[in-house]
Symmetry: C2
Subunit: 334 residues, 2 copies
């Protein structure tokens, strides 16, 4: 059971979640991290934070109205650039905030970590430090709005720009397990993202993946789904390659953002009793499935609120004991 | 000059556009075609319509409050199923409404055609009947909202589920020419859709395509663009493979549709002086670039309004003399 919580830091008390935060990732600098840490403390009171970053960040945390009884700073002398070459990540950044935050999860000091750093470095380091689950290819997933009070999981959202049909079949297995835990479903409907519903539609990749998924007897595979149906609740797990998944997510966010900027719209929704599920800021934080520990990726350019939401996503996943739950479900399949 | 207008039907008068309509495509049956024909007559008065379909459709047109002085019915004894095998399309459907509508453009009876039929059959038939422009791979494009009063073109939207890097370079050339004509731009900024902005990001396909586009001296290639930026006006032409383009378009539409259904939202926008560009129904009708004639593809499940919008899109493209304009620009590049 490599990577499972081995010991728990003295800092952690009963019912309290410890989240390790990579204080260097993201495009917006350390002041933004401080605001997010503070906001996350408000959103999720039963959380302690281990923040990894440069000494300047420590000063800012102390000066930034953060409750330091619930936040511990750890010095990290390196930051990994968003576009660091993948082959250098393991060797060159031993003291980076991202790596140290992952090691805190590995060592059981934290139950989850969150980073707004580069996806490539994060996936490579997470696989290396936490280990891969059941030889399945890791993928990023997140809750998509699928109607009032309903969600679906889509994966991969960008961990793998290049995918094989077997990778897509792996994502289906990971997504099925995650939907049981994250959405509380006993029999998630798994669909494959495509450009049409007809049997023969789509790329070679989706055609091959469809054949593999039809053979997966432990999944409820419902066939193809088109991208406009993601948000209608037609499937619980939407499987796609990391390129298309990222495009779908960001195209949807682009439209959200346009609407969200219309003055008075939020008040209008409140008056119409339209719940928050339409608003985008609460959807940040993709969970990296397929590694043996909880790793949450935030948008690199997330605002303070959104980064805080990713921190809360990490805490919620820890509260669910997502990593152990995934281990149990995936072991049961073997 | 294969496929250019040779003669013009007697039906066509000065300033009047003739649009050939495939009366069989689409998922919603012929009554829906009749409503769309009628609505298009209202939206675009200077248009005559040639409607191809089964005899039942003729009766419905006559009974459906359509102005028959501006609408001529032509019998087509075959309909091509949405999922017709591509290798059968040319041989088996000689008397189909889709084929006859394309032949009306080829023969100069109509200046544009519109179909809600299958994309695969439409592309194959259009290439065969109208001819391919300058050996460039045909692609579907459409105006994307890119800010109040602004648009961008994205392509391919689904004509090619499988693309090579050279195909993407072809799309850039087609998109550049179309943006000059359809958006009235003298120097369109062409960007390549990717999952990040960093140099090394993305699939092998986008990496290869980027190299080709950097060598295209007649294009203003601005590098990568992420999908949330499509709607912000960061580029005028967004190039992508037909799989990702279709996913981006439909994901955006999915979110639009959720918002559009919120009761009172349209009134709210009107009161806020938020223009119609936020509303989805006006965005239907993708233009097939790279064939020598004007071909517009409507969503198969477009509502009456949306199909009418696609008919109007065809008329507007004819009014622009898009096919001849594309020929001129592309010849100038050689």
């Amino acid at each position: 059971m490599a990577g499972g919580p081995v010991c728990v830091s003295d800092m952690q008390k009963k019912n309290e979640i410890v989240v390790a935060i990579d204080g260097c990732g993201g495009d917006r600098g350390s002041r933004h991290i401080v605001s997010a840490v503070r906001f996350a403390q408000t959103l999720y009171p039963h959380m302690r934070q281990l923040v990894f970053g440069p000494s300047m960040l420590e000063d800012e945390l102390h000066g930034g109205r953060v409750d330091m009884k619930r936040c511990e700073f750890r010095l990290a002398s390196q930051a990994i650039p968003q576009d660091a070459p993948i082959n250098e990540v393991l060797e060159r950044y031993q003291r980076s905030s991202m790596r140290l935050a992952l090691e805190a999860v590995k060592d059981g000091e934290a139950q989850a970590m969150v980073s707004a750093g580069g996806t490539g470095p994060l996936v490579v380091l997470a696989r290396h430090i936490l280990g891969q689950s059941h030889k399945l290819r890791p993928a990023l997933t997140a809750r998509m709005p699928a109607g009032p009070g309903r969600h679906a999981l889509m994966l991969d959202l960008g961990a793998n720009a290049q995918c094989s049909a077997q990778d897509l079949a792996d994502f289906a297995v990971l997504g099925d397990a995650a939907a049981r835990l994250m959405l509380g479903l006993s029999d998630p409907r798994v669909a494959l993202l495509n450009v049409g519903m007809e049997e023969r539609k789509g790329s070679h990749l989706v055609q091959e993946a469809k054949k593999l998924l039809e053979q997966e007897r432990k999944l409820t595979f419902t066939g193809f789904i088109e991208a406009d149906r993601i948000f209608r609740g037609d499937a619980d797990v939407i499987v796609t390659d990391g390129f298309s998944g990222n495009i779908a997510l960001k195209a949807a966010e682009g439209v959200y953002t346009i609407f969200a900027k219309v003055p008075g719209l939020k008040r209008f929704f409140a008056r119409m009793a339209q719940p928050d599920w339409l608003m985008p800021w609460q959807y940040n934080g993709s969970v990296l499935l397929g590694v043996d520990g909880i790793v949450v990726k935030s948008h690199a350019n997330a605002g303070d609120d959104a980064f805080a939401v990713a921190v809360v996503e990490a805490a919620k996943s820890a509260q669910l004991d997502l990593a152990a739950g995934m281990r149990d479900i995936l072991s049961g399949r073997d």
